[in-house]
């Protein structure tokens, strides 16, 4: 831990603030979700998973957008920092895509009667998840680390551009097989309290993502310091 102090006290301070903010924010989010907002009349308590679901998918798209931008910047001017940033966000993005898929399934079982349906949004989300899992695996497959970073950047770009195209094609495809059991979750007239809670959750989850990414980058840094120390110790 002595190393991290040398690495910058100000940064640790930011992390502490982010961590505390996330913790408090999450507790408040739980209160808002389970106590403040009313129970939805038709769907019942299971509807509450939607706050987490929406905030997660928001985080996933935000993450992959950042991966996309960092990848472009990396190819223009390679640097280890940009690659680390892209990878950290991709990991967080995959985590939140996973949460999205799981929370969707939890909601889907009682409402749709099935954990999984080939609904366009579900299908797109699953493909999104696969693309970025491959993105994360890619560096390990390529021998030369520099080349691995470059290839990851290529997939970070193609993958992101691909997502709307996948979504569009899946949607057009689904129009041929309309799914009768799909009940739309969000009616147009949600009570305002629900909207506030949704927005609030999105904000808190974004802070959580920021916090996690910073922790991830910190671990990377420690690992590199360790490698350097090993090298000099030889």
């Amino acid at each position: 831990m002595a190393l991290s102090k040398n690495a910058g006290g100000a940064r640790r301070w930011v992390d502490d603030v982010l961590g505390v903010a996330t913790l408090i924010g999450m507790v408040v989010a739980l209160w808002l979700i389970f106590i403040y907002t009313p129970v939805e009349l038709v769907q019942g308590a299971v509807q509450k998973v939607f706050y987490i679901h929406l905030a997660s998918i928001w985080n996933a798209y935000l993450s992959f957008f950042i991966v996309f931008v960092a990848s472009i910047l990396y190819l223009r001017r390679p640097s280890a920092a940009k690659d680390r940033l892209a990878r950290a966000w991709a990991e967080i993005g995959v985590v939140f895509t996973t949460i999205t898929l799981i929370s969707g399934a939890i909601w889907g079982k009682p409402i749709w009667g099935t954990y999984w349906s080939w609904d366009p949004r579900l299908t797109t989300t699953l493909l999104l998840w696969i693309i970025y899992v491959v993105y994360l695996m890619l560096r390990g497959f390529v021998g030369d680390p520099e080349r691995g970073r470059r290839y990851a950047a290529i997939v970070g770009i193609i993958g992101f551009i691909d997502v709307p195209i996948v979504h569009m094609s899946v949607r057009w495809w689904r129009t041929l097989h309309p799914d009768p059991i799909v009940a739309r979750a969000e009616g147009p007239d949600l009570p305002m309290s629900m909207w506030y809670t949704v927005l609030y959750c999105i904000v808190v989850f974004t802070v959580l993502a920021l916090f996690l990414v910073r922790q991830r980058l910190h671990i990377d840094e420690l690992r590199e310091t360790l490698l350097d120390l090993r090298m000099t110790a030889r």
């Binding site: 190819l75 497959f141 021998g143 993958g159 041929l176």
Partner: protein
């Protein structure tokens, strides 16, 4: 500009000559494609209206997997024998190198399809030799070849080689496959309504072509 065209042609011609002498790639793709068709038919016990429904999907599965097999080999071949470095030593714009490789790959795939489509028509009894289906096949194959060319260049440089290509190609190429299957389906059944798949296929091809053209340099260089 004139030099670039000459370079692209040189690459295409070289790839064709090498393949004409080695023949391994086309033989591999063709055998695989025909085998797949037979296995699909037997495994799924296809007859009657089911063929009409799943036929186009099976056709495109066959084409996709055969294409993946073939395109993976083209770069691995250059990489293993060290000729890729020879190509990279030439003062050729990396985009032009991409176009050269893409055209060569396309010609291989079209040759494979020239046998696979009639075989499919024969075995499955679906009229896929219509001009409309041929056009769809060309557009779908172009999309596959675009992504296949850039991803197989990347796969050749990695430890997993042929295993990496499907991981990269299959998820990203979903739009092309959906588009091609649906368009083929409509063309066979004569359905006129539904989404404009042909236009969508063209749009996907253009988007992927632009991306791959711009990014190929980073996929191929050392």
């Amino acid at each position: 500009m004139k030099l670039t065209l000459q370079q692209v042609l040189a690459i295409v011609q070289k790839d064709l000559t090498v393949e004409m002498r080695a023949r391994d790639l086309l033989v591999l793709m063709l055998t695989f494609a025909v085998l797949s068709l037979v296995i699909f038919y037997l495994a799924l016990d296809l007859w009657g209206p089911v063929v009409q429904r799943v036929g186009p999907g099976l056709l495109w599965l066959t084409i996709t997997f055969a294409a993946m097999l073939g395109m993976g080999r083209t770069f691995v071949r250059e990489y293993e024998r060290g000729t890729l470095a020879g190509l990279l030593l030439a003062p050729i714009d990396r985009g032009a190198l991409f176009i050269g490789k893409l055209v060569a790959n396309l010609l291989f795939l079209f040759t494979m399809e020239a046998v696979t489509l009639p075989m499919f028509a024969l075995l499955f009894g679906l009229p896929v030799l219509r001009p409309s289906v041929l056009l769809i096949t060309a557009l779908g194959t172009l999309g596959l070849a675009i992504l296949g060319t850039i991803f197989s260049a990347m796969a050749a440089h990695s430890r997993a080689r042929e295993a990496l290509l499907p991981l990269l190609l299959l998820p990203t190429t979903v739009p092309i496959i959906i588009g091609a299957v649906q368009a083929t389906s409509n063309a066979i059944s004569g359905a006129a309504d539904g989404p404009p798949w042909l236009g969508l296929l063209i749009a996907f091809d253009v988007i992927f072509l632009t991306l791959a053209y711009l990014l190929f340099e980073y996929a191929i260089e050392g």
